[in-house]
């Protein structure tokens, strides 16, 4: 099955780090500082990226930026039709979202359905002043009118290709790969 797979590394460890540094500055620039700013990472890849952004932004601003974790499984639009019951992770947003500027963080932006679910979930937690979206990779093929405010890299892809963001915290190495049959 794995044969004829054409795997290409499109971003390495340093590339990911530079992207996140730039995004950290862009977030601060757009929001004019870290006032009322909170990060919410979408399980699972988005959580690690959000943690890294949290470190960078907190260091730049010299203040602690709050971080939440969101599992969007219960808000998926295919949950009642899919035969698989996806494993459910814990959601942890231990702070009030009212009037906060929330930056949602995810690894890959694809159809936009995950982000739709995430926005629905966030709104159940309160009434944020605004919701912004930061992603490491935007691979196109949107099925909903959603776009990211902060993008690490635009990666035009075919529908049959798979884009994976591997991160040290869960895969033991930092890299973005695209694979597809040749």
């Amino acid at each position: 099955m794995v044969e004829n797979k054409n795997v290409k590394i499109v971003m390495d460890k340093d590339g990911i780090d530079r992207c996140l540094t730039r995004i950290a500055y862009e977030i601060l620039e757009k929001n004019k500082g870290g006032e009322n700013l909170v990060l919410v990472g979408i399980r699972t890849g988005g959580v690690y990226l959000a943690q890294r952004l949290q470190k960078k932004i907190s260091a730049i601003e010299d203040k602690d930026i709050l971080l939440g974790i969101l599992d969007i499984t219960l808000y998926r639009d295919d949950i009642s039709t899919s035969s698989k019951k996806p494993a459910l992770g814990k959601t942890k947003i231990p702070f009030d979202l009212d009037d906060k500027k929330v930056v949602l963080v995810d690894d890959v932006l694809f159809t936009g359905r995950t982000i739709r679910a995430a926005m629905d979930a966030l709104i159940d937690f309160g009434r944020p002043k605004m919701i912004q979206l930061a992603v490491l990779i935007d691979r196109g093929h949107r099925e909903l009118p959603i776009r990211a405010d902060f993008v690490g890299k635009n990666l035009p892809s075919s529908l049959w290709e798979a884009v994976s963001v591997n991160l040290m915290e869960k895969n033991g190495m930092d890299e973005v790969i695209i694979e597809g049959e040749t």
Binding site: L74, Y75, S80, T81, S82, K84, A87, G89, K92, D124
Partner: protein, 308 residues
């Protein structure tokens, strides 16, 4: 891991992996009940029928809240206000309910095996909310969740279950579950309340409370079913409580960090003294209720959402 079961009929039928999956899923659901908006859209458009042929406060309310927090429509039917009083049989009632197309039927019945019969008969998922003296799987799951939450594990713990084992579906489901999860289960009760050959379930049996709770990590007290007083299985409530009531004195025999559980409703001063039941340093009775909603949400979630 994928959950393949159509129904939840008993703990006996569940594997260790399935129990772990249910408990982990339930832990994730706990958070929803702490939100200001205690609702997620997961089961929108699904309906859950609670069919209760026996009295219940906790279990029925818990299932109803679990369904509602998942956005399912929940419908409660209790035998006393349904066509059952007109003489309709369980099978006829079930077939009629099936025709209304619910997704899950939760049933409590005084006859052991009633949920199993419905499961064979109907295409809907059936959850056993207590069948006779047989099983009460959701209670055992919430008990295991509570033990895991408080002790961090189940394997290796000594759990004493005390009271009327004979008539207790809670005891039977917990014996199956806790033994599967690697706990050491010890039972205690008067000989008239201990089923013959219960040792075959892999438990140690005592006829006095003190022997059973020595060094216990968990003590689970069962309700004395007052309605059975006339069946001459115990002489009087007072005599029962003299020997089997958990109190300040005998609890010292258990481990220092012992937790005390009770499936409810409690008879204060009969099987448990009020100061123990209300002592937040050992009693986890209300945590059990809280976890019960999460466990039932997890089961509804895992059972629905498949391709029809």
């Amino acid at each position: 891991m994928k959950f393949e079961k159509k129904d939840i009929l008993g703990i006996k039928e569940l594997t260790v992996d399935e129990i772990n999956l249910i408990l982990e899923t339930a832990e994730s659901f706990l958070e929803i009940s702490t939100r200001e908006i205690k609702k997620v859209p997961t089961m929108r458009g699904k309906s859950v029928i609670n069919l209760f042929y026996e009295a219940s406060t906790r279990t029925r309310t818990s299932f109803e809240i679990a369904g509602k927090r998942l956005s399912a429509d929940t419908i409660n039917i209790s035998a006393s206000t349904s066509s059952v009083v007109k003489g309709e049989t369980l099978i006829d009632t079930a077939r009629n309910l099936e025709a209304m197309n619910p997704d899950v039927i939760v049933i409590r019945h005084s006859a052991a095996g009633a949920p199993h019969m419905l499961a064979k008969l109907l295409r809907q998922s059936i959850i056993n909310a207590g069948d006779g003296a047989h099983e009460h799987p959701t209670q055992a799951l919430l008990d295991m969740m509570t033990i895991k939450e408080k002790k961090g594990r189940i394997a290796g713990l000594k759990v004493a279950i005390v009271g009327d084992i004979m008539h207790s579906r809670v005891a039977r489901s917990n014996i199956y579950g806790l033994s599967k999860m690697g706990a050491k289960v010890v039972l205690a009760g008067p000989a008239t309340m201990l089923p013959r050959n219960i040792e075959q379930m892999g438990v140690v049996v005592h006829t006095n409370l003190e022997d059973a709770i020595i060094d216990a990590d968990v003590v689970m007290m069962l309700r004395i079913q007052l309605e059975r007083q006339n069946q001459s299985i115990f002489p009087s409530l007072r005599e029962y409580s003299q020997h089997y009531c958990l109190n300040r004195t005998n609890i010292q025999l258990a481990k220092k960090d012992v937790i005390v559980m009770h499936p409810g409703p409690i008879n204060r001063g009969v099987e448990i003294s009020p100061d123990i039941a209300d002592d937040p340093s050992c009693s986890v009775i209300l945590d059990q209720v809280n976890n019960g909603v999460a466990v039932r949400m997890a089961l509804l979630y895992l059972l629905t959402g498949g391709n029809e």
